[in-house]
């Protein structure tokens, strides 16, 4: 049953994503990408769970590496998006 529930979530979100993202103008496609990219770092949640559960040394090591990579993804992704979006603000005030 969980698989069916997860699939439902997946399909509905795909439709929702499609309807929102097609409305985003080309101007913002790069920040959209780096921002959505940061969201991929949500894997961090999974990484936190496996890194922290620590039931085997190997799993913890991979979990640690996963946490590092996902954190780079999240923190870096949001920061560069912010940096780019600020440029658009600056431009409109000039």
């Amino acid at each position: 049953m969980t698989l069916v529930f997860n699939l439902t979530l997946f399909v509905l979100t795909a439709f929702l994503g499609y309807s929102i993202i097609t409305k985003i103008p080309a101007n913002l496609h790069t920040p959209l990408m780096s921002g959505s990219n940061a969201i991929t770092g949500i894997t961090l949640v999974g990484a936190v769970v496996v890194a922290g559960s620590g039931s085997s040394r190997l799993a913890t090591a991979f979990g640690f590496l996963a946490v590092v990579m996902a954190t780079v993804n999240v923190v870096g992704g949001y920061l560069v998006s912010h940096k780019m979006l600020n440029q658009f603000h600056k431009g409109s005030e000039a």
């Binding site: 979530l9 103008p25 080309a26 990219n37 999974g46 936190v48 799993a59 954190t71």
Partner: protein, 479 residues
């Protein structure tokens, strides 16, 4: 394995709230005015999801976790602060690769957990399917993204590297990955004697094959096709995260991963459509013709009119409407600030000035817009292809700088050739077209551009930055 200290529904509600914040953040991205807020909203969603996970799972080794978070943050901040806008595509590529790599590692670690826990002798089918999927996609994304970033940064050969039998290699690697994935899922009885519960080695082999596949896929694609590759890999990393969500039964991962998957897929389709090429043509087709110098001589011979900054300045003095068409060559020459200054000067002298931006003008979707915004060009002056094309007939001067294929009229006129049917900026409709280029060498497509030989086209040969700066200086002196 994991011990919740608070009831399951609390953490599930927190994930729901995080998902709402992600979605609201994306909705705010539909306008530049609200986009910064949207990015912030989305970041808050992430903070909530991660914070809740850290706080509410009883963690055996918090030190490991905190160390990971700190190291990752330091690296992320360091990279983000230092990056130049021109280097954005490769950085996004690297981040993207890390996201995919993390997904693959999490699925692997989860499999190890299953094995060491020793409770089950065979994997639940849905866990195995999801782990195989996120391992395959994650490893392809990781290696593919790093190769793409290397190409964009110039540390890997940017040309399409092609060799005999390359399709066979790709198909073989893909087949091996799928077989290993299938092995994980089916756990055939045949091997049960020796391999009971030994699914972990199969998973590592799967990662190896998928990593090679990622390299093989991207190495054979040329640098100018990277906008498609980066968008597609972005989509993959989203799907990998969603796949991990299926492994862990985590709704936040599924929702967020799917949103990203959809975003990447839509951008991929937009990029392909703006080159009138199918995705499989971009990925496997190879592109560009050997430059046919005879054909070029035929078209260009005696038909090229050269111009100078002084002459252009006189044209601009009497112009009412000017459109600037930037290409990637402008960014390579770092000419965007000079171009932006020219636009500002024209604007101050009551000349209507706009930028016509082709979707594949930069090295990732929307990259050119970011480069111009960085040079203080207001976003309402940046026009998309469909919007700017009807206005060229009322335009006095078009300045094309560092662009070639995206203004090639052959795309509309000829039925064959690499760019036939590609939507292009019809700059030839304007009264005068200025093309700033270093030489008459062809663009990525390798074909001649009849625009350069048109009567209303004048060529300004030279480096984009020097030429535009000279034009700015000339214009300043006379106005």
């Amino acid at each position: 394995m994991m011990m919740e200290t608070l009831p399951e529904w609390v953490i599930q509600l927190a994930y729901l709230l995080a998902a709402v914040l992600f979605i609201q953040g994306m909705r705010d991205m539909t306008h530049p005015r609200t986009a910064t807020r949207g990015n912030f909203t989305s970041a808050m969603g992430m903070l909530l999801a991660v914070g809740v996970t850290v706080l509410w799972f009883e963690l055996v080794s918090p030190v490991v976790l905190i160390a990971g978070l700190v190291v990752g943050s330091v690296v992320g901040v360091g990279l983000a602060v230092r990056v130049e806008m021109t280097e954005m595509p490769q950085l996004v590529g690297v981040f993207n690769g890390f996201g995919g790599g993390a997904s693959a590692l999490v699925a692997g670690a989860e499999l190890i957990e299953f094995q060491t826990a020793g409770v089950v002798t065979s994997l639940p089918a849905e866990t195995a399917i999801a782990a195989a999927a996120s391992g395959l996609i994650g490893a392809v994304t990781f290696c593919g993204s790093l190769v793409a970033a290397g190409k964009l940064h110039g540390v890997v050969n940017g040309n399409a590297i092609r060799y005999t039998g390359e399709q066979v290699v790709k198909v073989a690697l893909f087949a091996i990955s799928i077989l290993l994935g299938a092995y994980l899922v089916v756990q055939p009885e045949l091997f049960a004697e020796y391999l009971q519960g030994e699914w972990v080695p199969a998973y590592w082999l799967l990662l190896g094959a998928a990593s090679l596949l990622g390299i093989a896929l991207v190495i054979s694609i040329g640098g100018a096709d990277m906008p498609v590759v980066i968008a597609l890999l972005n989509s993959y990393s989203g799907l990998a995260a969603a796949g991990t969500g299926f492994v862990l039964n985590n709704t936040a991962l599924i929702i967020a991963g799917t949103l990203v998957g959809a975003a990447g897929m839509i951008l991929t389709v937009i990029m392909c459509e703006s080159m009138n090429r199918s995705l499989s043509n971009v990925l496997f087709g190879g592109f560009g013709e050997e430059a046919d110098s005879e054909e070029m001589d035929d078209i260009y011979e005696g038909n090229i009119t050269e111009t100078s900054p002084e002459e252009i300045e006189m044209l601009l003095d009497v112009a009412n409407r000017v459109v600037i068409v930037p290409g990637y060559g402008m960014a390579v020459a770092q000419a965007q600030h000079a171009v932006a200054e020219l636009a500002e000067l024209l604007d101050e002298n009551d000349v209507e000035v706009e930028f016509g931006i082709h979707p594949v003008a930069g090295r990732m979707p929307g990259h050119m817009n970011v480069l111009l915004a960085d040079a203080d060009v207001p976003y309402d002056k940046m026009k998309e292809l469909e919007e700017i094309n009807p206005t060229f007939s009322q335009t006095d001067v078009v300045i094309v700088t560092g662009a070639n294929d995206v203004v090639n009229p052959q795309a509309n006129e000829s039925d064959s050739g690499p760019i036939a049917g590609m939507p292009v900026l019809n700059v030839g409709d304007a009264r005068t077209v200025i093309v700033n280029k270093r030489s008459l060498s062809p663009g990525f497509s390798g074909i001649a551009n009849p625009l350069f030989a048109q009567d209303n086209t004048n060529l300004l040969f030279g480096d984009a930055k020097d030429s535009m700066q000279e034009l700015v200086n000339n214009y300043k002196e006379n106005n």
